[in-house]
Symmetry: C2
Subunit: 327 residues, 2 copies
């Protein structure tokens, strides 16, 4: 049994807790929290909740610690810190900062002799893998990634910061015509606006100026100004009833050419349609927790990404079983 | 530069030759053939064509030898034989016999200290990888593989063996309703007939009994009897004009559930739409040729499959570049 620890019990931490139950070779060993442990009520019976500050003292109770904090401020310090004591997996998703994060985690894990894997999830993660495989297989081609339909937490938060907004939910939606153009193999150049639309469901404060709110959303730089954005004002009840889920997904498509005169077209498409973004991310993380546990057993240490992990290491099946049944 | 050798210059061998041009770190070093070398006209200038029987004498001219024979009779003997002298990659695709083939190639490659990789391509190959990743990520779910629309060489050959048939082309086609049912997440049980239809384009001999031919096709055990099959009789000119390509493709879909009470559905879908089956297979093979070349440089030996290869090894980019740009 691989004993899994969770650091941070939010949506992702709960997702890990649920996913552990689906992996018969894993068990939840401990939850670590920065809150007062007695205020954290977890779903699994009989599993201790410890203060995060005392995690090092419980290192021998856990085989792999999953870091469930955020990429903005938590993981850049947490992952190197906890790699001192644990084999760790995180879902660091600030793409531009991955090289720096990798180096810091790698140094910490090498110093402690622990294994670490960063940026597990679906983007980065499964989408990255599909970009890499498709690029390796079709050197002459073009890549496209579309996100959605799904909830963007960052964009929802940006709307909530507008004066007069009580709550909000933002969906990122791929433009069907853009998907069709990509799938045609014509390798179109697509602008930001052509690829995705943004749909916002907003609960306004009583008496707020709706026209101003809508204008502030649609003209917000980086977040909305470059997109065709739709704003719907709805009641708090409607938001709760119709928009409380955290779905997401998307498409990674590479089209490329082969042949002596590049006369043949090929389309590789990978897509995800996820009812729960954090639960799917958790499921990916646990597969990689299994892989780094195995590498640690072999005496390896240092930081890895999904690009470094042989796929067979993710499966509870043996290499012989995989060759016989899944190849 | 990785020097690529080709053994067997048919559709797949030509595909390898074309794909080498798209990989700037590779060059074609030699073609080996069982035919009289002077009768084999290859596309690349200045590359020698040698008798297959003399391949061992040219082992130092080649870094990785790609075996382009068939899975029925060629590869079971060729891959172990040539692994005596070369690092080898094949596209062995008789799924049921992969374990035996693996063991034989592994023994040969370990004895010679060479690297080997078997069953590269798209099924087995990219489809296998996607089955494995999706299973590791969603332990509670169901798998579906659909093939087509594409030309099945085996089924086309079976039709050609019927008396009165001059030529034929058979397409395997996924049933759209079955794809939709799978994508709904309902995890349907589908029969052979529900998943695929078969469409046949047949050129009959002058005066042949068309009704008998059609009946023989539709009732042929294993090949057609379990499917809804359509037969079109066309002229030789029409066959040449409309059906001379070798397209193929298909879909690997896994749907699964997560959550404390398995309340959330997820759909992972991978699809290929290929103008040229042998050229795409060749492109996959070369990415794996790069990987085993690198492993050989590190002193590794023995047989591998796509499940054993860390994805980063497939790319000409460095791990640093991949983390910065593709993760």
């Amino acid at each position: 049994m691989i004993r899994i620890g969770i650091l941070g019990y939010g949506n992702l931490g709960r997702g890990i807790e649920c996913a552990v139950r689906q992996n018969p070779d894993m068990q939840l060993a401990a939850v670590f929290t920065r809150r007062a442990p007695e205020t954290v009520k977890i779903l699994t019976e009989g599993v201790p909740v410890y203060p995060a500050a005392e995690a090092a003292a419980h290192a021998d109770e856990v085989d792999v610690l999953v870091l469930c904090g955020g990429s903005a401020t938590d993981l850049p310090t947490q992952t190197p810190e906890f790699a001192q004591w644990f084999h760790v997996v995180d879902s660091f998703d600030t793409h531009a900062n991955i090289p720096v994060h990798f180096d810091e985690v790698d140094a910490a894990a090498k110093a402690s002799g622990k294994m670490a894997l960063i940026s597990a999830g679906w983007d980065p993660g499964m989408f990255s893998l599909n970009r890499l495989y498709a690029n390796a297989v079709l050197p002459c081609g073009a890549d496209y990634t579309f996100w959605g339909k799904g909830v963007s937490q960052g964009h929802s938060d940006a709307i909530r910061r507008i004066e007069g907004v009580k709550d909000a939910r933002q969906y990122t939606i791929p433009v069907p015509a853009a998907l069709d153009a990509v799938r045609s193999g014509s390798q179109p150049q697509l602008t930001t606006r052509q690829k995705h639309t943004r749909e916002c469901f907003v609960v306004a404060e009583e008496g707020a100026d709706l026209a101003r709110i809508e204008n502030e959303i649609k003209t917000m730089p980086n977040y909305f100004a470059d997109y065709d954005t739709t704003v719907h004002f709805i009641s708090e009840e409607e938001l709760q009833r119709d928009h409380s889920g955290i779905p997401h997904g998307g498409f990674v498509i590479r089209t490329g050419k082969t042949g002596w005169n590049l006369e043949h077209n090929h389309i590789i498409e990978y897509s995800l349609k996820l009812d729960s973004n954090p639960e799917f991310t958790s499921s990916v993380i646990l597969a990689y927790a299994r892989a780094i546990y195995r590498l640690a057993q072999k005496g390896e240490s240092g930081c890895r990404t999904v690009f470094d992990i042989a796929p067979g290491l993710l499966s509870p099946q043996s290499p012989e079983e995989l060759r016989a049944h899944m190849l």
